[in-house]
Amino acid sequence: MATTNKKENGSSSNVFIIAGVALLVFVAYSMFLGYRLYDQLTGTYNDVQRSLVDVSTIKDNLLMVNRDVLMIISGTGSVEDNVHEISSCFDDIEDCMKDYEAVEGREEKELRRYTQAKTFINAYHEKIQSFQAQFMEGTQMNEGLNLDLATAQVLYTQELQPLQITALEMFDAAKDIGQTNSDKQISNVYQVLNLFMVLMLVALVGGETAIIIIARIAKAQSAKLDKREKELEAFDSKLKVSKRKMNEMAIMNILTGMKNRYAMDEEVGNRLESDNFCVTMLDIDNFRQINDIYGYDFGDEFLGMVSDKLKEEFGNDAEIYNIQGNQFCMVFHDEIASSQAMRLSERALQVMNNVYTISNIGLQLSATGSFYNYHARECANLSAMLVKMIAGIRQGKSRGGNVLITVM
């Protein structure tokens, strides 16, 4: 039983360890996953932001270039200033393109649009440069016909503007693809995040359930254990009671409720070596006849009544033993002097000589006693002492009974 208990305790603690380790792994993994998602999200956001800024700066600059070209061909403002602004705009565009290209992991389609846009930008830039060269040459020659304003306007609408518009559109497309991709990525991340939350919830509910189940099992087990312990205790006390009863039965006469000869041996045997005391043996005369005439039950009843009377009368002065059927021994307490003990013994004979009524039958039986004023070391054991005293009883009975004989 104890082994089984130990085993079960062992397996339940294993479950807790496994649950603990699993929870630890799960939490660590969740943290890793969460961190990864967060990283991904911020990365994507940053890239999108950066690309948007780059593309919108490029577009702004393209529009500015367009405005400057228009100013040049409409003859507004200083040509030099406009030319200068155009070249600084293209520097800006160049920077933005470098920045845009620095972002890694772009999708192939987006890069493709970007490359197309870039090719258009470069073609546009070259065209503007040749346009400037022609125009400047014309202005420097003052009245030169290399590029009059009308031709410049035609060149602008026919050759420059389509390139600029196409470049703008392609940048737009690249931006849109990037945006769509990042939207997709972000929505993917959110999807993962949602699933992750659901998973966490499931894990939490599962964990809680597991803990509740385990706790319940543990509780049930401990209740079982308590019950067993109580059963054991009850059993134990029962055992004690029976043992005590058995012990009592060993040293008591069941019929009279008095201590028997074994008890006397236990209690008096030790004193023989050292103590002086008075002891009287009483034997009911002709008791056998009662059994023969009225039956054993009747005899037993009679013995019971006699012993009750003796206990009642002399229980305070002596320890009374029922050493055998109709034989009683009174071991007087130390404070009772031998003369008093003698008197009490005689009175005991009288008490026993009384009429006892059992089932409306009055019965009177005499008794014979032997009185022994014992001195230390007179007898080696109780048996020897009892032999002496039985000899006294025999002596008394041979005289006709109902007499107290003193033995030495």
């Binding site: 079960e8 339940s12 496994i18 990864r36 389609k109 026919q158 894990a203």
Partner: protein, 351 residues
Amino acid sequence: MNRNKRIFDRAAVCAMAFSLVFASGCGAQKEESHGKITVIVKSQDPYWDSVKKGADEAADELGYSIDWQAPANEDVPQNSFVEKAVHDGTKAILVAPSVAEGLEDSFKMASDSEIPVLAIDTDIDSEFKESCLATNQDAAGGIAARQTIQLLPDGGEIAVMGHMQDSPTAIGRFEGFFVNLPHTNTTNFSLPSGYNDTNVLDSETAAAVSGSGTPVFDLVDIRFCDNNADLAAEGTKEMLKEHPDIRVIYCTNQTSTVGVGRAIDELGYKDRVQVVGFDSSDEEIGFVQAGVLDGIVVQNPYNMGYLGVRYAVKSINGYSIPSGIDTGATFVTKDNLENPEVQMLLHPENY
């Protein structure tokens, strides 16, 4: 007890496995299509392949599919295609009109069903058209004209090989070219109906322009090949026989350019006659490399398809779009053939 432990272990293992699967496999969902966009072009000429490529790519990027409709040739009426697309529940229609009139009713039908209609490649006069993405013919002609002036600093006789007499593109390119080219019309031939030449210089002006260093050209002939390269080649040979002093032949589309190129190549006149063509087939590129063609005006059909679909989707989503943009044209010669922007026009699939 043991059973509970097993359940708990399994639950823990499952949870881990699930989270791993979710964490790694989330990128792989299929994208749903928002619908189809119908693109109706003029014919099955290879020129339209680039338009299709651009349209397909834009549709792919924006989550649409392309319903490609290419009639057998330019004579097939396109209104039935438009009507069918409307019936089929298309989301937008891109059409390259092969005629200037006759599509209005079908456009109205699309417009009534709230389907945006956009013209690509060729503009069409319609109150239901939302936008037009095409090469501005004036601009394309202008580019060709300015390059022609640079190729021939001394001027000379000039002839035109048109692809179809009543084609709007042929008319547009003719006018765009000649409005930007200082020229005279000295020979006794009358322009075909529908063709106007508003820039014929009188002799005085021509002399003044010539005196200032800009070449002046004499328009001597104009012919049409009905979109047949063989006819164009034949016509070229005849023109050159009649007018042996022709210095420049201007061609208005791919087939006419190819035909003229073949004739010049056969005659071995590549150093004697300058050919300014239109569009870019592999044969034309070969002629440019060989010096048979001195320059070709290359449009951007890829962008027409690409931006056309982008604009269509913008319109579907309720954004306003420009009423028209010039997708641009580039003059391609032997010198700039290898430039990235030219290569991108010729081979958009590589960029």
